[in-house]
């Protein structure tokens, strides 16, 4: 992987391969592999995110898949927590937390999400790794693409695409495994008996991965990503960005290592072009901050290696801020500027939402009740002395403890309730629809709609449980004609 060192006199002229890409005429980018602090950091994130992504669906918790967004059953399991559609407020909270984290990170250090954790970056990195293993380094790849189709070229291209497709399909399978239980799905896939839609979505997601990470790459960031377009508004002059130190670098120019370049009026930039060659979006960071820059730090790693070889200090390209470059701040001064109003506001809101979400989640009542009056049955028995309304009580047990349910009703004199034998047993993380008949003597009740209250008492079934029963009141209307 030590490409940078190998290339003592790197060619500045990349092969001109213009391909009619989806968005505009695009010159194919051959990113040179690079090693260094930021490349290692990115690989660390590739490992972390992908161990989580590929691994989580296989974890087991209480005899079921630990992380499962069971769309068919409309229940989301995340370890010990079970979420129902009624819990959408937590999803909203999660989205707000994600958005504010993104705002905060962006305001502090630019596009760190893009450079290290975005799936587009992570999968491109993995696909590039495969490409590098199969086709060789940047120069070899450019040469291969220029070659006429021969056995060697076809063999290499087939191998690369086969590996890409295998990885993409596994990714698609894993993705679907988050929404439908992965172990039975795996059996089905192996036996070619997976359901039509499951197969379709595996192929769809697999194709998207293959297309995005193999073919589209930086075009996704440049043309398709909404965040890339609006991230600029979170920037201010104290935001850490990847910058080229113009004062130190210019005038750029090639020179002999032994020559006194300062005497010749040259700056520190040797104009080797490494920073451009390693850039996954193909920009020249020396032109200043550009929206195409995904903040990956590849140019920093590349440049630092060249600087080390030349015996110059590192950091000609580095993380710095607009203000720091202008007023020559040191890193402590830069760090101190982090506590500015924008950052404090973002952090404050983020902390508040996190705390509120955690507290409400902790105090979440694990039993929910929805009462639906059965309209078709309200008119029954117009002339009879007893009036009856029928309700369906949907009782949801949202955590994993089995519970015993008792239903009572109040609101009108002499009301009685009929249902299956109580208490009803309701298993953990399930819901039950209980039909209930409520009866009242017609005499003494005005015609019209009356408010009544259902009281649902849920007691943990476990013998010897000392927990207080959960009592839920749910109002409904009783109609009498």
């Amino acid at each position: 992987m030590n490409d940078v060192n190998k290339a003592a006199v790197p060619s500045r002229k990349p092969v001109e391969v213009a391909e009619q890409a989806l968005y505009e005429i695009r010159k194919k980018i051959y990113p040179r592999a690079v090693t260094g602090k930021f490349a290692s950091l990115r690989w660390l994130f590739v490992w972390l995110t992908q161990i989580v992504f590929y691994g989580f669906p296989w974890l087991v918790w209480n005899d079921r898949q630990a992380v499962l967004f069971d769309l068919a059953a409309r229940k989301f399991y995340i370890f010990g927590l079970v979420f129902w559609p009624q819990d959408i407020v937590y999803l909203t909270a999660l989205l707000i937390i994600s958005a504010y984290s993104l705002f905060l990170f962006t305001a502090v250090a630019g596009r760190v999400w893009c450079g290290y954790a975005c799936p587009q970056t992570v999968y491109t990195e993995m696909f590039l790794w495969i490409e590098h293993r199969v086709e060789g380094d940047r120069t070899a790849r450019m040469r291969l693409d220029k070659e006429a189709n021969g056995t060697r070229k076809i063999r290499l291209k087939l191998t690369k695409h086969a590996l890409w497709i295998a990885l993409a399909l596994w990714t698609g399978f894993t993705f679907v495994g988050y929404f439908t239980p992965i172990k039975p799905l795996f059996q089905d896939v192996v036996n070619f008996s997976a359901g039509g839609w499951a197969t379709f979505w595996i192929l769809f997601y697999g194709f998207a991965t293959y297309g995005n990470a193999g073919w589209m790459r930086e075009q996704v960031c440049k043309y398709m990503c909404p965040y890339a377009r609006f991230q600029g508004v979170m920037f201010d002059p104290d935001t850490l960005i990847i910058t080229y130190d113009t004062q130190r670098g210019e005038p750029r120019g090639s020179r002999n290592r032994s020559a006194d370049y300062r005497a010749k009026g040259l700056g520190d930039c040797v104009d080797c072009g490494i920073c451009v060659q390693v850039c996954p979006t193909g920009i020249d960071i020396r032109d200043g901050l550009q929206y195409e820059c995904i903040g990956c730090g590849a140019c920093i790693d590349g440049c630092n290696q060249v600087m080390a070889k030349m015996g110059y200090p590192k950091g000609l390209i580095r993380y710095s801020t607009e203000n720091a470059l202008r007023t020559q701040m040191n890193s402590q001064q830069i760090a101190r500027r982090a506590a500015r109003p924008r950052i404090l506001v973002y952090s404050g809101i983020l902390m508040a939402v996190v705390v509120i979400a955690m507290v409400t989640l902790y105090h979440r009542i694990p039993v929910k009740v929805d009462v639906i009056r059965d309209r078709a049955n309200t008119l029954r028995g117009m002339d009879e002395p007893v009036v009856e309304n029928v309700y369906r009580l949907q009782i949801m047990n949202t955590d994993e403890l089995p519970r015993q349910i008792t239903i009572r009703v109040s609101g009108l004199e002499g009301m009685t309730i009929e249902s299956e034998a109580q208490p009803l047993e309701i298993r953990g993380a399930t819901n039950r629809v209980v039909p209930v008949r409520v009866k009242v003597q017609r005499a003494g009740v005005e015609p019209g709609s009356h408010r009544i209250d259902f009281t649902v008492e849920a007691r943990e079934s476990a013998p010897g449980s000392q927990a207080e029963p959960i009592v839920i009141h749910e109002k409904a209307s009783f109609v009498l004609h």
């Binding site: 009619q20 968005y23 769309l71 409309r74 559609p85 999803l91 839609w197």
Partner: protein
């Protein structure tokens, strides 16, 4: 229609369809939906999937109209001019030599 316009229509529509799908099916259970008064027979997974493509189609129709209305007056008025060089300055089709279709 060139590929660039096609993706300008399909991609934003895809993003919006994804968001709309999540919101819609959080609120509505496919089992509660009715088609001309009849309960839907298909599985939830099938309804989610078909629903996604239906939403994508609707959003794509909106994107397509946006693209369609983006044509400038000059383009609409003078586009039948077969020779691209004769088209008014600023017309996006001035240089490419193509026809108006």
């Amino acid at each position: 229609m060139d590929g660039r316009k096609l993706i300008q229509i399909l991609w934003p529509a895809f993003v919006i369809a994804g968001a709309a799908e999540a919101v819609f099916f959080t609120v509505f259970d496919p089992r509660d939906l009715r088609l001309y008064g009849e309960p839907l027979e298909a599985s939830r997974t099938a309804i989610y999937s078909v629903g996604f493509f239906a939403l994508w189609l609707v959003a794509a129709a909106s994107s397509a109209l946006t693209i369609f209305f983006q044509r400038t007056a000059a383009e609409i008025n003078r586009c039948p001019i077969p020779d691209a060089r004769d088209r008014p300055v600023g017309c996006p089709r001035r240089a490419d030599g193509g026809t108006c279709s």
